[in-house]
């Protein structure tokens, strides 16, 4: 029962992230929204990896004290999540650098002012 609750948290994180991206006008808030969205997707992958009772794939880690032996975690989504974290920090840093440059050049800190390119 409890193993399905993380999926709800995933949905909550993704919805909150998308809410920030769609409705918040501050650029740095926007970057935070993207980070939250990314955290949600990462949590989704890890939750996906957490399985009961299948023995086809190799587990990487089991806490036998707390749970029975049939609970384990798939290794592949871990690798995917790690890669996603790396990419996430790279894009966040790049995006924030752009925002700092934009603030310096135009004193822009909201998306409302970031409208030089349009039409």
């Amino acid at each position: 029962m409890l193993s399905n609750i993380p999926y709800l948290v995933v949905v909550a994180l993704m919805v909150i992230g998308l809410y920030i991206i769609l409705f918040k006008r501050n650029l740095i808030k926007l970057a935070m929204g993207i980070t939250l969205l990314e955290t949600g997707v990462n949590l989704f992958l890890i939750t996906l990896a957490y399985r009961h009772g299948e023995v086809l794939h190799a587990p990487v880690f089991t806490s036998m004290i707390l749970r029975n032996d049939t609970t384990f975690s798939l290794p592949t989504p871990h690798a995917l999540t790690l890669t996603s974290i790396v990419i996430g920090v790279a894009t966040t840093a790049l995006l924030l650098t752009f925002f700092m440059q934009l603030y310096r050049k135009f004193k822009v800190s909201t998306t409302d002012d970031l409208r030089r390119l349009r039409g």
Partner: protein, 159 residues
């Protein structure tokens, strides 16, 4: 960037050695325990960020760091390409070979009570790549933090 208060600096000084050791441990034991080049590198990288916040960014040499970053990546790709000599890209040519780097065979689990146990000197190219990734990640993350820190604190006008 101004230096932070003595409290912060002392804490960072005290925490420096254990955090560094922990990061190095994670990198070196990448093929044995959870973690690896990226995780250990990220730990040391965040240590560098702490150090930077506490002591200022001017003391760091950007060229050295970018050299380290390129070097780490080149070692990684080079190890992959060297695998081509034995057949395929990223082939683990060091494992069970005569080259005396990380070449010990992994012992079978028989006789050991704990299944995660293995000597450090195993893993072949995996360990080499972990080291390369570790160096690269430390350099890369520190470079990101330094660049952004310098930009935010010191480059208010121009530059």
């Amino acid at each position: 960037m101004e230096r932070m208060s003595p409290v912060v600096r002392t804490v960072v000084k005290i925490a420096f050695a254990p955090m560094f050791a922990f990061g190095a441990y994670i990198i070196l034991h990448g093929h044995l325990t959870p973690g690896g080049g990226f995780q250990g590198g990220a730990i040391i990288g965040s240590l560098m960020a702490l150090y930077l916040v506490a002591f200022g960014a001017t003391a760091w040499k950007k060229k050295l760091l970018s050299g380290l970053e390129s070097g780490g990546l080149l070692v990684f790709i080079g190890t992959g390409i060297l695998g081509l000599v034995s057949g395929l890209m990223f082939y683990n040519f060091l494992a069970d070979s005569d080259i005396p780097i990380f070449n010990e065979a992994v012992p079978t689990m028989l006789g050991y009570t704990h299944s995660n146990w293995a000597p450090l000197w195993t893993g072949g190219t995996i360990s080499v790549m972990n080291l390369a990734v570790g160096i690269e990640v430390i350099a890369g993350l520190t470079l990101i933090v330094i660049t952004m820190g310098l930009f935010a604190f010191e480059g208010k006008e121009g530059g």
